[in-house]
């Protein structure tokens, strides 16, 4: 078949010019002859179609009734469980579906079976005629001429200047959509207040955690002491301060210089907010000591100070330095030594100012 199907001029002289020469093209035979439908020729079929359409419209009425019955007969009052709501939802939907589909399919069936199905051809008209274009150009010229804007540059230039400056107030009023970031992202609630170290407490009830509660292999979701007592901005603080607490074999931790006293007996605390885009890194794989973010699957290795070993995050999870107070409760010895959560433009600047 290859000898006449690829249109290459090497094979066939006729193909190369096809499409460019009217003589070489098939002529448009025009619209195919119209074929009559059964309903056009057989009055019985037409009558049948008519009845079918009426039945479909009738179905719609039934659907509307189903909706109304479901709406009024099913009681959502006291004691109505989720099953009742599901039932009502299903019946309301079913009623609406019947009501709508009855009308819709009825009309479409009517149009297809009984209305004339002759396809007709209509000429397209030019979207724009040359005459119109010239007339429009003349009108625009006249308008420009009558305003005199070309002859009076002073008017034109001052108008342009005024219009260019006029939106400035609009921009200004949007300037107070939010406060300026300042250093808010650099600090969390973990910073000791008036010399008092914050205890690590359970999320969500806020009970403090003893070091002895943290058995090998266990993990705690942690919030700072006092978070639940906040009246304003509780979620804002929580969004920065949540921490994961785990206990590993102390031998498997290899703290880097300066972090030797950040853990206690193999108990380590890391920010739960992913350094990628801020989801909570909520999954702790006990066997492998990996932390996994369920949103984008960034994986952090606890034994390497939460270094990124897979996924889109680029930075380790910040570690919270912890110790034990004289009652045996775990406390944070300071705030995080770097901003938590997703990176932002001023992040490095903030980190330097924290550590200076």
């Amino acid at each position: 078949m290859g000898n006449h199907s690829d249109g290459s001029p090497n094979h066939s002289g006729t193909v190369a010019t096809a499409g460019q020469n009217e003589v070489e093209k098939f002529q448009d035979p025009g619209l195919p002859p119209h074929r009559l439908r059964l309903a056009d020729t057989d009055p019985k079929a037409a009558k049948r179609a008519e009845r079918q359409v009426a039945v479909l419209f009738g179905t719609s009425v039934v659907g509307t009734l189903i909706f109304l019955v479901a709406y009024f007969a099913i009681d959502l009052g006291e004691g109505a469980g989720i099953a009742t709501i599901r039932l009502q939802n299903a019946l309301l939907g079913l009623g609406t579906a019947f009501a709508m589909l009855g009308i819709g399919t009825g009309i479409v069936h009517w149009a297809k079976a009984l209305m004339p199905d002759h396809e007709v051809s209509e000429e397209r008209h030019a979207i724009r005629t040359e005459e119109d274009r010239q007339a429009a150009v003349r009108i625009v010229d006249d308008i420009v001429e009558e305003t005199g804007i070309k002859r009076r540059p002073l008017i034109r230039n001052t108008l342009l200047g005024a219009v260019a400056l006029a939106p400035l107030p609009a921009i200004a009023v949007f300037g107070d959509l939010g406060p300026r970031p300042d250093k808010k992202l650099a600090h969390t609630m973990w910073a000791p207040e008036e010399g008092k170290l914050k205890r690590l407490t359970r999320d969500p009830d806020g009970t403090p955690i003893k070091a002895s509660d943290v058995t090998l292999g266990s993990a705690f979701h942690v919030i700072p002491e006092g978070l639940n007592e906040l009246h304003e901005g509780k979620l804002n603080e929580k969004a920065k301060a949540v921490v994961l607490l785990m206990r590993l074999d102390p031998a498997s931790l290899k703290p880097s210089a300066g972090r030797e006293d950040w853990s206690y007996n193999g108990i380590v605390a890391y920010s739960k907010i992913c350094t990628h885009v801020g989801c909570p890194v909520a999954l702790y794989e006990q066997q492998t000591h990996h932390l996994l973010c369920p949103c984008h699957q960034s994986t952090f290795d606890l034994t390497q100070e939460c270094k990124v070993i897979f996924g889109p995050a680029s930075r380790p999870l910040p570690q919270l330095p912890i110790a034990v107070d004289n009652e045996g409760y775990l406390v944070a010895t300071s705030d995080f030594k770097e901003p938590v959560g997703p990176s932002y433009w001023e992040r490095d600047e903030h980190e330097r100012s924290i550590n200076s």
Partner: protein, 558 residues
């Protein structure tokens, strides 16, 4: 003079009451003229023209169901304790927005149904716009004079996604809150202004107490108003251009063949609205969407595994997942001049979507530049007859789908019991090679289909009838096509590459060379339509009984 003319023409007096009312209105707004212009306007009919209608009708349903929801929804982020009838969340601390969403679901009759209708209609709205755009792309309907309408349609796609996203976040449940958290992370990665934009959007630190109210305003006022404006523009241009039509006998760039608006087309299109509504109602009745009561109120600490955004945001989320944060020892986040540049978030969030949308907006002009085609096109291309365009479209589609699949990488891994890391590695590879393979395969398939068309046009279709000739050879009888069917297979243009030509100074510019190169890339592989001479030759030299009897001709011409 006007007095004289009114006196001459006897005033029309309607006989019935309806007639008099109609006449009253007509005399004041000129309805007769409008009806005369549009009442019998011809619309071509094809199943693939329905997608745009689905989008329009889903939008109407969104407005209806959304209006109902606004009567009961309270976008406040103030704290409250739930007191509604859903027992598992009794007394739980939550925002007023979440509480009122629960009340809509459990304490307002039909409220859950309306929420379900609204969410399903929103998913369908974006989906039908996307499919409609694919139809328009693959059939070349974006060509002159419809380039601007393609742009309006693309803007509508973006607005639909914006409407979806702003609405998705409103219930302030755990899932949508995590979605907002991700958006916040992406915004913060923007160099220089990111932190400020984040603080402006959220009215301070994430999550703050302002964002739901702000999104609500965008969702119910600004975005729908813009969508409405764009729909008006879109439909206005459809009327100006008249609809495109598929190629076939009797159809050309100078006419439009189809059914008159009244009654057939109006009935079909109008009836279709009810069908779309009915189908959405069925989905709302039987398929739970966004069961916010299972997720609980937003809290920055918990998150559930397998979280997914609504489908149309998926490709961006997938791109975020695919991007490695670290390759070897190279970190994609680094410090320049003391500032943090976090490319592992910025690149995947902006680049793929940026490329997709830029190419989408510019494609009509790119193709017109390559082909130097300034004619108006009202007859569509069958996708196979524009192999390179089809291949570009398929490549883009596959690229999108790879990212989209990546948004469900964890679900793929748990569902098929494979390693999550392997799924990600494979998808990373497919991100680069998938579109290339798709391009090559789609182009070859299109060319093969064109060859099949030629084959059928020249030699007729296979009848399945095997005949033994006197000398023992078996052949299958081919039945020739009637002229209408054949014209559908041969009535297309097959442009050849346009070599570079010098400009008025006799110089072949570098831009022109690039254009010529692209033109060659577009059209060097081509299958020309069969010609009458070839048909003649085919009948002559093959000599098998294909050029059949009158009886066969008859059986085919129905």
């Amino acid at each position: 003079m006007s007095a004289a003319s009114t006196a001459e023409a006897p005033a029309f007096v309607a006989k019935t009451k309806t007639g008099r009312i109609t006449d009253f209105v007509d005399a004041r707004v000129g309805g007769s003229g409008i009806l005369r212009e549009f009442g019998r306007k011809v619309f071509p009919d094809h199943w693939s023209f329905m997608f745009g209608e689905v989008a329009l009708y889903s939008f109407v349903i969104l407005l209806l169901s959304g209006t109902f929801l606004t009567f009961f929804f309270d976008p406040s982020m103030a704290e409250t304790h739930y007191a509604g009838s859903y027992v598992p969340l009794k007394n739980v601390e939550m925002s007023v927005a979440y509480s009122s969403s629960l009340n809509i679901s459990f304490d307002i009759r039909g409220g859950l149904f309306m929420r379900q209708v609204h969410h399903w209609a929103a998913l369908l709205f974006v989906a039908s716009i996307a499919v409609h755009m694919l139809r328009v792309f693959f059939t070349g309907a974006f060509r002159k004079p419809r380039e601007m309408n393609w742009v309006v349609g693309s803007v509508l796609l973006i607005l639909a996604m914006a409407a979806g996203f702003t609405g998705y976040s409103l219930p302030d449940d755990l899932l949508s809150g995590n979605g907002l958290r991700i958006i916040d992370g992406v915004i913060k990665s923007i160099p220089v202004v990111g932190t400020y934009i984040s603080f402006f959007l959220f009215g301070g630190e994430f999550p703050g107490t302002a964002v739901i109210g702000r999104l609500y305003m965008l969702h119910i006022l600004l975005v729908p108003a813009l969508i409405l404006l764009m729909i008006v523009l879109h439909l206005f241009m459809v009327v100006v251009h008249k609809h495109t039509q598929y190629p076939g006998p009797g159809r050309n760039d100078g006419n439009v063949v189809g059914y008159p608006l009244g009654p057939v087309y109006a009935a079909k299109a109008g009836g279709f609205f009810f069908i779309v509504f009915g189908v959405i109602a069925l989905m709302a009745a039987f398929f739970t969407i966004n069961p916010i009561w299972n997720y609980g109120p937003y809290d920055p600490s918990p998150v559930s595994a397998g979280t997914q955004p609504d489908w149309y945001i998926g490709f961006v989320d997938g791109a975020l997942r695919l991007m490695p944060g670290v390759i070897g020892d190279f970190h994609f986040e680094y410090v320049v001049f003391g500032y943090t540049l976090t490319l592992n978030v910025l690149l995947p969030a902006l680049v793929p979507a940026g490329i997709l949308f830029t190419v989408m907006f510019m494609y009509p002009w790119i193709e017109a530049w390559v082909t130097k085609d300034t004619r108006e096109h009202h007859v569509l291309d069958r996708p196979r007859n524009a192999p390179t365009r089809t291949a570009i479209g398929v490549a883009g589609f596959v690229w999108y789908c790879v990212m989209w699949a990546a948004a469900g990488s964890d679900l793929i891994a748990t569902h098929f019991h494979v390693s999550l890391n392997d799924v990600t590695y494979w998808l990373r590879a497919l991100f680069f090679i998938g579109p290339v393979i798709a391009f090559v395969v789609a182009k070859r398939v299109a060319l093969a289909l064109q060859r099949k068309d030629r084959e059928i046009a020249l030699h007729g279709r296979e009848t399945g009838r095997i005949v033994r000739l006197p000398h023992g050879e078996f052949i299958e009888v081919h039945a020739p096509l009637d002229e209408y069917k054949r014209y559908k297979l041969v009535g297309f243009e097959s442009p050849a590459p346009l070599p570079a030509v010098p400009n008025e100074h006799g110089i072949v510019t570098r831009k022109e060379k690039r254009r010529a190169f692209l033109s060659k890339w577009f059209f060097e592989d081509r299958v020309a339509p069969a010609t009458p001479a070839e048909l003649e030759a085919a009948h002559g030299h093959h000599g098998h009984p294909a050029v059949g009897s009158a009886e066969e001709n008859k059986s085919l011409s129905h």
